[in-house]
């Protein structure tokens, strides 16, 4: 069963705008990871945030984690058409790289 719920399910923005995706999960975690998937192919690892971290940055990405609310957010700043993809959060509880995935957000960035 899916552990995480993501919202929105779909998001459409214009190039240059920021995109925010949210993820909620149900149980205690060791870490939370965000992935991008283009056109139903393989997943690209974007960023990992550990349970004792609150915020992390990587280029145009900013991830926050609130373990008290069991939620995370992914912010993509200054979006580009190439950012069009599905984005998934995934949590690891016991085994660090054994993941439970959220439902995903489909992001469409238009010119």
């Amino acid at each position: 069963s899916q552990q995480g719920e993501e919202d929105p399910q779909a998001l459409s923005i214009q190039e240059g705008e920021n995109a925010t995706m949210n993820c909620s999960y149900k149980t205690s975690i060791n870490n939370l990871q965000w992935y991008r998937q283009n056109s139903g192919r393989g997943l690209v690892h974007l960023i990992l945030i550990r349970s004792n971290e609150r915020e992390k940055h990587s280029g145009r990405l900013r991830v926050t984690l609130d373990t008290s609310k069991k939620s995370s957010s992914l912010l993509i700043t200054a979006s580009r058409a190439a950012d069009t993809a599905s984005y998934f959060c995934a949590t690891a509880a016991g085994t660090a790289s054994k993941l439970t995935f959220g439902t995903g957000t489909r992001l469409q960035v238009t010119l």
């Binding site: 992935y35 139903g40 393989g42 990992l48 085994t95 790289s97 054994k98 993941l99 995935f101």
Partner: protein
């Protein structure tokens, strides 16, 4: 990061047949996993591929349907047995390196 090669990248198979998917990692990894992504859905873990022992299956997945091999620390196979159209999905191999998990490009399987 680990580079994962998966093949075939796609296949169209007849119902009742079996398909074996191969996953090769460019470095030795402790953990390898197989996931299924049904059309329009998220990823669901099928099993953990254990080196030198039987795979550990998640609820709803059984060895007879999804036999897995892992002969060494860089290679694993997943077989989808006695296929039906409901098995049409993307199957993804994952390798764990530390806390991070990396994925292959997936195998898009269509059963007709």
């Amino acid at each position: 990061s680990a580079v994962i090669s998966q093949k075939p990248s796609r296949d169209i198979c007849q119902r009742g047949t079996s398909l074996t998917i191969q996953c090769q990692v460019d470095s030795q990894v402790t953990m390898m996993f197989w996931y299924r992504q049904q059309p329009g859905q998220s990823l669901t873990l099928i099993a953990t591929a254990n080196q030198g022992s039987e795979a550990t299956y998640e609820s709803g997945f059984v060895i007879d349907k999804f036999p897995i091999s892992r002969p060494n620390l860089t290679f694993s196979t997943l077989t989808v047995s006695n296929m039906s159209p409901e098995d049409s999905s993307i199957y993804l191999c994952s390798a764990g390196q530390g806390s991070e998990a990396f994925f292959g490009q997936g195998t898009r399987l269509t059963v007709v």
